[in-house]
Subunit: 271 residues, 2 copies
């Protein structure tokens, strides 16, 4: 099954567009985990067990593992999800972008070393730097388009031939790069009008939408503007709002409740 | 000492603008290393020992370590260079770019976990994603501007307000982002006219120039167009042309010769 099929199937099975971002910061983990041999893995495992019925996918952010020398716990986390909840896809959020021979190695990292179902990539260097990922036809390749951060417009909103750079990226993805049908786009929830515009440009494409929760994106607008004709087409990511819902011994149950609440809030606008 | 000072000092001491890219592919290592416990580290160590008098810096490409589960050998390599040749700076080539809290973690990865002197970053997401790196004032932050690969123009050559996107990046770097004076730019050797143009825009900035050797960049044009007023201002990277100069037991000596030859070729045009 391809990533796109797996994502849609999980979204239907759990009636959910929620993506839980697994971004564990050792400084923020509950006290009760601090004596674990693998505290990050223990944290992720508990979060996954508690949220698995309310999500369409998980998204570990590689930086939290790379910055805390926890590569093995990233691998353990992804393996755990595949072994226990094989119907839920895992997106490795790494935002890679490099020349061909190097991109080959990054694709191996994401799809062979970590066995992720999909990966995020950066389009700044152009098509040949994306192709080594796109060639894995069953895997998802999620290209940064309009990101959720404050200065994302520095480059993304520059206008060329009447279109902003992020629109050029969306059109490349729609018309030129999607030869395996495995591209999705990152569109930040903090720019709902631009999300709406890209949905009009790309009615059938899947979007990964970060920026609700801690970053302040408006869930109602995201859902109304971003869903495709089937009421699907998005994985709406929340990290801190779910994984840090409580800092006590009830952290896992609290994350489950937070994921369920976000799912239900999203569904209340899906109509 | 800052990265910029260290780079200039090493370039003067070795009279060299050569950066050796440490991109070890297990499939391409000499047979004589295949029984080593840490073949990648053994390879890098031998290359470094053989080339250290002919370089201004080293640049391990993170993908080769991430894709081959060799994070520990990356750390061993950088530690080895710092311990034995502390005057030679190390650039960790990772091309990171992510939102603030995540970029903090990537900056920790580069500067704390691996103790690199400089890091490469991707500007697509804008200033706030670069700031966590730029705040390390003594470290170098090398921003992708005009990259060496075939389709780098897909986005980088789009024209906005009479300037291509890569020129906007150079001007942001020169006029807005360089509050700590620690920015350098990546400009591919395969586009020498654009290198010349950016040198005119940014007469005092340091450039990391990949693309000579295997990628076919013209060394004479790179040197004539890219040096600053002091005949410095560039680290010209070669990876495959140096580290795979021989596949036999003489691989280290051959890499030393290749590095010396490239240094001398570059110097013949420095005037």
């Amino acid at each position: 099954m391809t990533f796109m099929e797996k994502l849609k199937k999980a979204a239907r099975a759990n009636n959910s567009l929620v993506c839980v971002g697994l971004d564990p910061d050792l400084k923020k983990l509950p006290e009760c985990l601090k004596n674990e041999k693998y505290p990050i893995f223990a944290f992720n495992k508990a979060i996954v067990d508690a949220t698995k019925d309310y999500v369409c996918c998980y998204k570990p952010q590689a930086a939290y593992y790379a910055g805390q020398s926890a590569d093995d716990e990233l691998k353990m986390t992804i393996d755990y999800i595949h072994e226990n909840y094989p119907e839920i896809p895992v997106i490795l959020d790494v935002k890679r972008g490099d020349i061909g021979s190097t991109a080959d190695m990054y694709a191996k990292e994401a799809f062979c070393r970590y066995n992720a179902d999909a990966v995020t990539v950066n389009p700044y260097m152009g098509f040949d730097t994306l192709k080594p990922f796109l060639d894995y036809a069953d895997k998802g390749v999620i290209i940064l388009c309009r990101t959720s951060n404050p200065n994302s417009g520095d480059l993304q909103n520059l206008v060329c031939d009447g279109k902003m750079i992020y629109e050029h990226v969306a059109l490349y993805a729609r018309d030129k790069w999607n030869y395996n049908g495995n591209i999705a786009l990152v569109i930040g929830a903090t720019y709902p009008e631009e999300l709406q515009h890209i949905r009009q440009l790309c009615p059938e494409m899947t979007f990964l939408v970060p920026g609700v929760g801690a970053q302040g994106g408006d869930v109602e607008k995201v859902v109304r503007y971003g869903c495709d004709a089937e009421g699907l087409g998005m994985a709406i990511n929340s990290s801190r709002g779910i994984i840090y819902a409580s800092n006590g011994e009830d952290f896992a149950a609290a994350s489950g409740n937070a994921a369920k609440e976000l799912r239900d809030l999203i569904n209340s606008f899906r109509g």
